[in-house]
């Protein structure tokens, strides 16, 4: 509670958190708050402009209510951006801990596998994997998780390997603690805050990434409402109704901006390295 109070003490963090919470709530309550069915077509109302009565954000190229599609689309886009990060964090953390704990063959195998995955540029790996697994939300999430895992392994390994030499970890090993105890109860808590920071800073990037994959047509298929897909479809009417592709992108931008502000703040509070010096460290993507 004290943490939360301190966390929200800045007006900018407060505002950004509020936006994120509202968007998440809208997504959860989509059936209750969405004014129309997101796939319902209003035949006479194609490309209706902003503030049309009954359709405050207008309608798209097929005559569907943009606001309703945004609200339903939030479910798809937010889940698609978050699940791969969480999934890859879990898998990557376990593999990274195992590699750090067991020196020898297992360590060697995991690190070699990681190097091979690193040779694939992140975006290429995800696009290729999405194509291999086939279209669809679950497959796209799997693809993004696969692409992210080596980065998590590297981060976990880099901080867990030196932690193996800490006195209290050595003491625990000498005491005869099991491997899982050392990994999960001794090492994991010490690296957990930086993992949380890492994950929260990746979520906005992956939301954009997910929307991008849908935009390219290798993830979500029409007529499912999804922000990236809405931009791609709206592009066809860019000359006559530029609000159709612009509005979903603006929403995407605002949500990711707020998530980034929140993650920055979280980093300053949680990460001991940056707590002192008011600096922001984003894990380099590459």
């Amino acid at each position: 509670m004290r943490f939360l109070k301190k966390f929200l003490s800045r007006p900018s963090t407060m505002a950004a958190s509020a936006v994120v919470v509202i968007v998440v709530l809208l997504a959860i309550m989509a059936p209750l708050v969405s004014p129309w069915d997101p796939v319902r077509v209003f035949p006479g109302l194609r490309n209706a402009s902003l503030f049309t009565p009954g359709h405050i954000l207008g309608t798209d190229q097929a005559g569907r209510d943009i606001l309703s599609r945004l609200i339903w689309g939030a479910r798809v886009t937010l889940v698609m951006g978050t699940v791969p990060v969480v999934l890859s964090m879990v898998i990557g953390t376990l593999l990274g801990l195992i590699a750090a704990y067991y020196a020898g063959a297992l360590d060697f195998a995991i690190l070699r596998l990681m190097e091979v995955l690193f040779a694939f540029p992140l975006v290429l790996l995800a696009v290729l994997a999405a194509a291999v697994f086939g279209n669809g939300m679950v497959n796209a999430m799997l693809a993004m998780a696969v692409a992210m895992v080596p980065y998590v392994i590297r981060a976990v390994y880099a901080s867990a390997k030196p932690a193996m030499e800490l006195t209290y970890v050595e003491a625990s090993i000498i005491r005869g603690a099991s491997a899982s105890h050392v990994m999960l109860a001794e090492i994991l808590p010490s690296i957990f805050p930086s993992l949380v920071v890492f994950a929260t800073s990746m979520i906005p990037l992956f939301i954009i990434f997910a929307a991008g994959l849908s935009y390219l047509g290798v993830a979500i298929q029409p007529p499912t409402p999804e922000w990236g897909l809405m931009i791609a479809e709206g592009q066809q009417v860019i000359q006559v109704a530029s609000h159709v592709p612009t509005v979903p992108g603006l929403v995407l931008l605002v949500v990711c901006f707020c998530l980034n502000v929140v993650s920055d703040r979280l980093q300053r509070e949680l990460d001991p390295r940056t707590r002192q010096r008011h600096g922001a460290r984003l894990p380099a993507s590459g």
Binding site: R112, P121, P204, A284
Partner: protein
Amino acid sequence: MIRYIIRRGSHFVFILFAISVIVFLAIRMAPGDPIVHLAGPFATATQRAQIRTSYGLDKPLPVQYVKWVEKAVQGDLGLSMQLHVPVWGLLVGKLLNSVLLIVGSMIIAITLGWGLGILSGLKPGSFVDRLAQLLAISGISLPAFWFGMLLIIAFAIRLPWFPASGIISNRGSGGVGDVLWHLVLPALATAALPAGIMIRLTRSTIIETMQLPFVNALKAKGLSNRVVTQHIIRNAMPALLNMTGMQAGFLLTADIFTEVVFSWPGLGFQIYTAIIAQDYMAVQGAVLFVCIIFVALNIIVDVLRPLFDPRIRLV
């Protein structure tokens, strides 16, 4: 040094082998049959079998793989099934276009990233710092494909200053000026994300460097602020170069989104169209091609690093 290069070289071969196997298998696991795509909806079973044989796709997988690698080593990545031209030639041309786009956007990203990052890192909490932070977060939060589209709406449709797509005009004089004119909008759209990341990383690198003991020593010697700043930047240089190299490598395929928006005929766009068309030969060739460049770049950066940072010794 020589031992280091040999070790990295053998590493390189192992990684290439692993990648080639993964790519080869992955592309064959993809749903759908490229032959159906290629032969069209009215082909008979015999015709399909004929096409399959002509591409060697009727042979067992290990045989196909060995044949592919045998030829690939000789620089022959096969014929594109969609365009019927050698994949190798196709990719080299596209690579040059991609490099042009990457260089263009990295010039923008370095100017903004290093400039604003150094300014804000030297004076944390100042007005410039806050402005830079705002720009950095905006850059990171901007979806490149949407930003590219906005640029098209604003500067190609509403104000017809720049072309909306492609790399050269169909009519007109052509030449370098024409290409650069086409480059402006895609480079801007591509630069947003690396610029944002680089502002933040540069800033934190500068702040970290300023806390090193040598800075205090210099100040104690009574050197002017300008000279101290020069020393700080020089010390931060290896980290900045490393970060810049990583961003450029990242763009090698991350520019796929802007390439698609602007129909920029680069590597990313090529891979995208090949995947959509299930062009086996082109996809496996292109992915292998990109991975080789990516791994080779990493090794070159590693070997060159001691030039910029005498503290590093390669062993």
